[in-house]
């Protein structure tokens, strides 16, 4: 089999990193950063999601390009859903 077996050490490193980021996001939420609090929380969450996808879900090691196409498409559809909805609601003038 040409399948890549990822060293256990990589998994442990990612695990520790995810736990640190979890602690970080809970801690940083208690500091007043104004509107940046939400931005920081989402950046940390997205970093966590990214390393789960790349390492735990093996996307970094896959040779199948279609997998990446599917992931990027799914995120693109999600952005359409969220962004166009907000364009709609954001430009309505409620009394």
């Amino acid at each position: 089999m040409s399948e890549h077996i990822i060293p256990a050490k990589t998994y442990y490193t990612i695990w520790v990193l995810l736990l640190i980021l979890t602690g970080l996001t809970a801690w940083v939420a208690t500091i007043d950063l104004g509107p940046l609090n939400t931005v920081v929380a989402l950046v940390i969450a997205s970093s966590k999601a990214l390393i789960v996808v790349l390492f735990f879900m093996h996307v970094k090691y896959t040779s199948e390009k279609m997998t990446k196409v599917v992931i990027v498409s799914a995120l693109f559809w999600l952005v359409i859903l969220l962004a166009l909805s907000m364009v709609d609601y954001g430009t309505r003038h409620f009394s």
Binding site: M1, G23, A26, L42, V52, F55, F56, S63, L75
Partner: protein, 212 residues
Amino acid sequence: MEQQKDAVTLGMWLFLATEIMFFGGMFCAYLIYRNWYPNEFAAGSRSIDLILGTVNTAVLICSSLTVALSVRAAQMGKRMLLVGLLILTMLFGLAFLGIKGKEWYDKYKEHHVPGASFDASDIAREYPQIPIDESHEQIFFSLYFAMTGLHALHMIIGLGIFTWLTVMAWKGRYGPEYHAPIEIGGLYWHFVDIVWIYLFPLLYLIDRKPLK
């Protein structure tokens, strides 16, 4: 076999793409209402238990580690290690649901479940700096229960899948040549973990700054 495994993995990712849209609808509702009622979301978020939420996030991350290691155990043909890691994953999953159940029960006791007996006056009293409207506060808690509920439902389905995987692993069905079910079952589990990675800051960490 290699090609079959690639096809199976791709199919799973396509399913996960539909799942992203499934949860996406809820995140969209969340986004719109949070923009309309920022105060109610801030106060509601403060009333949820931060410690339990953080612990639960860590529990799910640990379960994702054991899932990743179980794929590795299958690749190396270590049957007993695989079975052990799958069981450990399910224990983490059950611990998550237990903690989640405790949080829901607390909300039930506090009358924070949307419905006829909903009462957010305790939240208004606790955070007088944040003016809230009771009916809008119900919308926050409706979204809280809908989103964590849908996530918990996925966890329960995941536990079902992993029970089946454990039985098959025990029977010695998986090894270096064939372990696609472990791989795609794992993809599902990691996906559910990622949904929680977003739910945690969006529900628990909206407004934790010291109040002025």
